[in-house]
Amino acid sequence: MEGEVLDRGIARRAARIYLPLATAAALLFLIAASLGGEYPAVARIGGAVWVGTLSLIVSMPVVTARVKARARRRE
């Protein structure tokens, strides 16, 4: 039970880091696509979603592992 509580806490703390990171990457792409050329809206938004998804996939495990390690050290 205690383990489950710890896991949920770690998941929440990690999400508070990697979600904004992935969102920032998506937004950065969207801004670059909007400023950089005549891309249709679908391409800009689709691209932002894809970049955001890949950034989420990259950041989620890295951040979760670090948060978990820090939590274990505190224990």
């Binding site: 891309y39 249709p40 391409a43 689709g46 894809w50 890949l54 996939i57 990259v58 495990p61 979760t64």
Partner: protein, 872 residues
Amino acid sequence: MNASRLTDSTISLPVQGMTCASCVSHVEGALSELPGVSQVVVNLATGKATIERDSSRVTIEDMRQAVADVGYSVPTAEITLDVRGMTCASCVAHVEGALTDLEGVTAAVVNLGLGTARVTYVPGPVAVSQMKRAVREAGYEALERSQGLDALDRERQAREEEIRRQGRNLVIAGAVGLLVMIGTFYDMLGPLRSWIPEWLSYKWVIGLLTTPIVLGPGRQFFANSWRGLRHGVTDMNLLYATGIGAAYGIAVINTLFPQAGFGGEGATFFESAALLTAFIVLGRWLEALTRGRTSEAIRKLMKLQPKLARVLRGTAEEEIPADEVQVGDLLLLRPGESVAVDGLVEEGYSAVDESMLTGESLPVEKKAGDPVIGGTLNKTGAFKFRATRVGKETALAQIIKLVEDAQASKAPIQKLADWVAGHFILGVHILAVVVFVFWFFFGYRLYFDPASSFILSPYRLGEIGVFGFSLLLSVTVLVISCPCAVGLATPSAMMAGTGKAAEYGVLFKAAQAIENTSKLQTLIFDKTGTLTRGEPSVTDVLMAGAGEAEPGGLTAQDILRLAASAEKNSEHPLGEAIVRGARERGVEVSDPVRFESIPGHGVEAALQGHAVLLGNRRLMGQRAVDIGGLVEQAERLEGEGKTVMFLAVDGRPAGLIAVADTLKEHSREAIQQLHRLGLEVAMITGDNARTAQAIARQVGIDRVLAEVLPQDKAEEIKKLQALGKRVAMVGDGVNDAPALAQSDVGMAIGSGTDVAKETGDVILIKDDLRDVVVALEAAKATMRKVKQNLFWAFFYNILGIPIGAGLLYPVLRLVVSPELAGAMMAVSSVSVTLNTLLLRRFRPSLRSGRQTQAEAQGPEQPRWVTEPAAGG
């Protein structure tokens, strides 16, 4: 937890859910972080984690939790025992307590009314026989309620279930994927179109066919990826899920909303999602097949263990489970039955086939006093034997453990491959982002050509937009980069190799031993007992001062008598040979008053009022005994390959005794073959240089290290290693332990079946020098297979990544479709699987049955001569 276990111990835990090399890295990482764990090796092919730990600091439950934390599981098994003798609730508590005290037992529920105990446990750390013993020690009796499944059957069942599951997925994905492909390429089928309904080519029909493929056989990738991400781990499932999900998602959007701007109806790519799924599932099925096949060696060995044994209790025969036989029990064996445990024949006579364990092709005759090995097959007669080793102590159990440990271990080359694969996944996703961004902002504008097409397909990219094109390349990079076969490349070859070698009686203790053996440059053989039979016999007895008055009136008989009496308490083979020789000639051997062995020199004794010295030149020199008159004869005898020992009585030379040991059969043949393999062969011995050189000439050895004291053998090996050579030592696993341990590869020859006590990285069960060649050839064949597998595993990635990222597009206007990328990954799994299976054809060069010329000539025989030595 059993508080008395306060020392390091090694346990093996099964781990479920691992599919690739990165899974291995995550599990190893999770277990290594636990306090008290000193080493972890996870083997994907066996599905096991071998952990060295301090059991007072980390429990099995801790390890199970650590594995679960990263998204995998340690499976448990259940067994029901019949427990007799319980009468009340406290009995229940005693039995439950006895069972749960065993490490590895997670739960025990005892039912007093039914007289049963249902035990949940982790297979591996605890065995059913331990549970029964624990109940017995608590004062009750326990029997297995149902035969159920033992660990081997459970493991096989799990593997077969995995093969069946992936097989079902493959059939669905393959069959429906074929329809999708036919529908997609409908326009290009020419006259065949008359056989195919046109509606199969409609996009929404293709979409409907693709959906069950992605949500059915493809679901495993999404489920495994999500589980991994939630626990902060990434594996190859993520690459597949991202690729399949993106292709399918865009295809659905383009079908339902063709005007949305993702490329329209011409860019649906349903076939990409469908075929990608089919090819990846094909790879998974092949991997499951490979994992199932390569543990065949262990399975074959385990099947040798009979389940029942016939024990004699008084005059009555009783059939009991083999694991309940105790040391000291008298067992009866009939023709055609397997020996249940190790023992000594007490009565009867038969021939026993031991080939399944030792590789010895001819049945071995057994009579009273001879040992028998559990798992071997009785051929013709019947006999009674007394059990000497049971359970984990039997030769069969030791060999199985050795092979299992070797298969669970990791070679350095595999550690590198796993590390690369483990860190690859994130790198691939970053690369996919880079590829997408490049083609989106730059590449499409500079290079895109609507007439361009996929490689090996006339399917044009048509009106695909910037987003669709960039996404296509990004997805292709994800799939094509996946080194899915890397996880199995090395362990599958290692398992096949160790299993094959075990069939010939060659046991590698660890995967590293195989890798080291394949790189050897120099082999050093111990002389006595390794190159020679180790049963020397007296060939010459010479008296000092021929034709003159002999010191003390000594005759040849006197010399032999004095020498034998001095050596009576010696355990040295030369001493034993002299005693044997004296007894054979009817010479009386008496006990010395005083005896002292001087290692590397000889012995000193006091008997019948005389001080007797027997030994080599070094001993005589140290005690200032002038042996000048015997030197010429000694050198002549040493030139014939004999070992000469000088006898001095009361400080004066009395004579000498020559002893010769015969070379083992096949020794010349083995050395010749080792030379053909490009190895330098040396011999190390405490014998004098002349004798050693004579032996070396007979077998064709290049280099002789003679007059080496036992304690200096390891130093000699160190000197060779300092020259940059990779050195193996072949010798007795017990007596040559320091030298074996110092060498890069220690080979213990002639261990018999008590393999556990042998020092050394390689155990050669038979006393046959050809097995040294077998070990080398098996190691080289295995490492060749490993390197080939790694090549096939990485080749397609290295070739495919630049192409998949669009590097050739500006020049050739060709891109790799996601399904072609998936096909290449499946081909890499096929390549690794088929290549590993080829190792089954391995046959050692010296085991073909052909007799070589050297073998036909046979070893030289010594001659018996008694004559006085010239001089005095």
